[in-house]
């Protein structure tokens, strides 16, 4: 039996809903509502009504237990054919990009001809769990068969157990929030407050300019009355940002504010991928191809590496495999979890010691032309509904590369909780 030759999956287009600030426009929307609406917007854009797509792959970071089959349920609620298979993935903030890689790989192997990758997250409609002690007591009660056993189980319940277990943006193994982790890394790399604020202002200005020129007209569908990312502040300036007090890190050296860190956000995104033939048969465009991808993880618990530094490790592996240098790209998309994350990552790639000692390279990867970085804004301005960010970046970058003409290369770098990172190469 012969295997089919591999091919490169095409990115046909994308759709997302505007991202909302937590407990605001989408406060009453569930993950399933948002993902379904996002799929329906994609269906409308590409005329996929009643069509069976090879596979839909999506996920959410914060997920209710009832959403065990979130993506398939969303497909069933959408205008796609009910015979479209789906599965959930979760790799923290890497979910969206990882989903795209999974779909692209199946297309590359010829296992599917088309697929949709997506992600959704809500920090408003968050899954509250019952207190862990109460949960044990309730399970015991449920398992009790005699009156005596039931009374015994009930007697174990205490008023203090009524406090719910609220999901927190905290690393389970360190007890530190992601922002606190990022602040440690920022300090290590000497990332200044000014440089973070500059990156933040650029993000807002780039995103606002992209809206103004209609860049998002075919990348977004409004939802629940929201027509633009709610976090966007086109009038953002260095002066205004300088007045904010730091929220992460401690004392003199604290540089990270609410502005140069992404806020909690609700939203969803989806990307349509396909074989070139599938797209051509339907008169659909090919914006770019997903050329390659790489994941990495770091030991931020004991290994002395920053929680969000994994993309720095994934990058050289992927570049080497493709015979490319860090400078061989026309556009760069480095996810702005925090302004300091982007700056720390770039500083690491420029640092000879880091590149030789930690990455095992002969020479530093070098610097990135900042005029090619996050040219249509990124998470600081748009917001960051964890699993939805990858889809946002893949679709926007593919379109931006397509606008530049054929043969243009773009690089994606996304950091994720748990010390993980996903990087990818797109080419128009």
């Amino acid at each position: 039996m012969t295997r089919p030759d591999t091919r490169t999956a095409a990115i046909v287009g994308g759709n997302r809903i505007p991202f909302a600030r937590s407990n605001s426009a989408y406060a009453r929307a569930s993950n399933q509502d948002m993902l379904t609406a996002t799929l329906d917007g994609l269906v409308a854009r590409f005329g996929l009504q009643d069509q069976t797509v090879g596979e839909v792959v999506a996920g959410a970071v914060l997920k209710h237990s009832r959403d065990f089959n979130l993506t398939r349920e969303s497909v069933l609620g959408s205008r796609l054919s009910a015979s479209t298979p789906a599965y959930d993935v979760q790799q923290a903030c890497g979910t969206g990009l990882e989903a795209a890689v999974l779909v692209a790989n199946k297309i590359a192997l010829g296992q599917i001809e088309s697929g949709i990758a997506g992600g959704v997250d809500t920090t408003s409609d968050a899954p509250l769990a019952v207190n862990e002690d109460l949960r044990h007591a309730l399970i015991a009660l449920n398992n009790a068969t005699t009156l005596q056993q039931r009374l015994k189980a009930i007697s174990a319940i205490r008023p203090g157990q009524l406090a719910p277990d609220i999901p927190r943006n905290v690393e389970p193994r360190t007890g530190l929030s992601m922002g606190e982790h990022a602040a440690i890394t920022a300090k290590e790399w000497g990332v200044t407050r000014e440089s973070q604020d500059e990156l933040t202002v650029a993000s807002h200005q780039h995103l606002a300019a992209a809206y103004d020129r209609g860049f998002f007209d075919d990348l977004m569908t409004p939802f629940l009355g929201l027509t633009r990312d709610q976090n966007l502040r086109p009038e953002s300036s260095l002066e205004k940002l300088a007045t904010l007090r730091p929220v992460f890190g401690k004392g003199e050296g604290a540089t990270m504010t609410a502005a140069n860190s992404t806020p909690l956000t609700d939203g969803a995104s989806a990307v349509l991928l396909a074989s070139d033939e599938w797209a051509a048969a339907r008169g659909l465009p090919v914006l770019a191809h997903l050329v390659d991808a790489q994941t990495a993880a770091v030991d931020y618990v004991h290994g002395g590496e920053g929680l969000l530094m994994a993309p720095a490790y994934a990058m050289p592996v992927m570049l080497a495999r493709n015979g490319l240098t860090l400078q061989d790209f026309d556009l760069y998309e480095i996810h702005e979890a925090f302004a300091s994350t982007v700056l720390s990552t770039m500083a690491a790639w420029e640092d000879p010691a880091f590149c030789t000692e930690r990455l095992g390279l002969d020479a530093p990867l070098g610097s990135i032309d900042r005029s090619k970085l996050n040219v249509n804004g990124s998470s600081l301005a748009a917001g960051h509904p964890f699993a939805a960010t990858g889809g946002r970046i893949v679709a926007s970058l593919a379109k931006a590369l397509h606008e530049m003409g054929p043969g243009k290369r773009g690089l994606i770098s996304i950091c994720a909780a748990g010390g993980q990172g996903v990087v990818a190469i797109l080419e128009s």
């Binding site: 854009r45 209609g214 075919d218 409004p222 027509t227």
Partner: protein, 446 residues
């Protein structure tokens, strides 16, 4: 939205009350549903003078499964009365029109159709002949006002050589598609017509753009054109994207979020049609806005925004489509939405009325070029159409606005949509440069 008064007037008690008090008795209009016969009963065809269309009309009706009844003595109720008055040479010939119509109209059923054919008054040098031809206009419009119970009267002018172009207007004006089109005059012209048409799906295989498709009349146009077989590219501003996606998904079309007033809008639309569909067959310029104020109180922004959306964008997009190589397919159709405000004027709507009158001028001016290239461009001018917008009007204003027409009720978005879908048909190529009002023969803008 239900018409509470119409429903009341058609109820048992309501029929008695409205009859006794002499109140208006709006009918439940016969509207088209797929599978309907052309007419729900027989038709008669008469002549005034030595007309040249009678045989053609009888064969069209027969082919459509309509029984053609005898004009004489029969007491059978009629679904339609057709008069071929192409033979009139002077006022004296009109007496025979009266002699045919008077008994025939007595036999007309509710929701009946009166359709008169004449020669264009301008196409003769004889004052007497021109007078007689023009007289038909006054005759038909008055019949429209005398008819009750949802019946309509319309006039088609047929120049010599354009006889083949009447089939499509005949089918439209007799059918339920023209429920709210009354007292209208359409002049046909000679055109390249397709040999046969799928009557159930006249737009099968066509690609149609509808602007302003997210809601109201635009959504109805998209639905109707999709029902007739076309793939609809539904266009609206990005902010209306969620409703637009819903419409596109409902009708199996595609959504294109585009602000038609953006500097590159025409280019983006043309590129989209070329890349995704290899061209376009039908473009419906429906997107429009109102920014009402008395002229003395109107700021430049209100004036400019209405002009930009309602008129300039239609001009720019139409021209871009004509200029683009190979995007307009053979037999392409452009249908523009004007308004009775653009014909009659409307207090507080100088900007809107100017833009909508401008549409009529644009359509007339483009028509010769379209004809040369085998296409057609027309406008529809809706009157009082019941939408979310009119639902917000004060009760009295709305009631008066909706009753002052021969149908004694407001039209529905689908009535506008049906007229547009008709003009979009391949067989309607002989209708070019026309503005058809969908107003139930409104007293305003007649």
């Amino acid at each position: 939205m239900s018409d509470w008064y119409r429903d009341f007037a058609n109820s048992g008690v309501g029929t008695t009350v409205t009859r006794q008090l002499g109140l208006p008795r709006p009918a439940v209009l016969r509207r088209h549903t797929p599978g309907d016969p052309l007419l729900p009963g027989p038709a008669v065809v008469g002549s005034a003078g030595a007309g040249r269309l009678r045989e053609e009309l009888i064969s069209l009706l027969t082919a459509a499964g309509v029984t053609v009844s005898s004009p004489a003595a029969d007491t059978e109720k009629l679904a339609a009365v057709l008069l071929d008055a192409t033979g009139v040479t002077g006022p004296a010939d009109l007496a025979s029109a009266h002699d045919f119509l008077a008994p025939a109209l007595k036999r007309l059923r509710p929701n009946g159709r009166v359709l008169v054919f004449g020669d264009p008054p301008s196409e003769t040098s004889s004052p007497a002949q021109s007078a007689a031809r023009q007289a038909l206009d006054g005759l038909v419009r008055s019949i429209g006002k005398e008819l009750r119970a949802g019946a309509t009267a319309n006039l088609v002018f047929v120049p010599v050589g354009a006889e083949a172009s009447i089939a499509s207007p005949v089918r439209f004006f007799l059918s339920g598609r023209s429920a709210y089109v009354d007292g209208q005059v359409v002049t046909v012209s000679a055109a390249q017509l397709p040999p046969a048409e799928d009557v159930a799906h006249p737009l099968a295989g066509k690609v149609a753009v509808v602007t302003g498709a997210a809601r109201g009349i635009g959504a109805a146009i998209a639905r109707t054109i999709a029902r007739d077989g076309a793939h609809v590219v539904a266009v609206d501003v990005p902010a209306a994207g969620q409703a637009l996606a819903d419409v596109a998904n409902e009708i199996g079309g595609t959504a294109l979020q585009l602000d038609i007033t953006a500097p590159d809008a025409a280019t983006r639309l043309v590129d989209h049609l070329r890349e995704r569909h290899g061209g376009v067959d039908v473009v419906v310029h429906n997107a429009g806005i109102t920014r009402d104020k008395l002229l003395v109180n109107m700021d430049t922004a209100r004036w400019n925004s209405v002009m930009a959306v309602n008129l300039q964008a239609q001009l720019d997009i139409t021209q871009a489509l004509l200029d683009a190589d190979g995007v307009l397919r053979d037999g392409f159709r452009v249908v523009c939405v004007s308004s009775t405000s653009g014909i009659a004027g409307n207090r507080g709507q100088t900007n809107y009325a100017a833009s909508k009158a401008g549409i009529i001028g644009m359509v007339r001016a483009y028509a010769p070029e379209f004809a040369t290239r085998g296409g057609a461009i027309n406008a529809v001018a809706p009157g009082f159409i019941v939408t979310e917008m009119t639902a917000k009007m004060p009760f009295a204003t709305r009631e008066v606005g909706s009753r002052i027409n021969s149908m004694q009720q407001g039209g529905l978005p689908v009535d506008v949509a049906e007229t547009i879908a008709w003009l979009a048909q391949p067989g309607s190529g002989g209708v070019n440069g026309q503005t058809v009002r969908v107003c139930g023969q409104s007293m305003v803008g007649a």
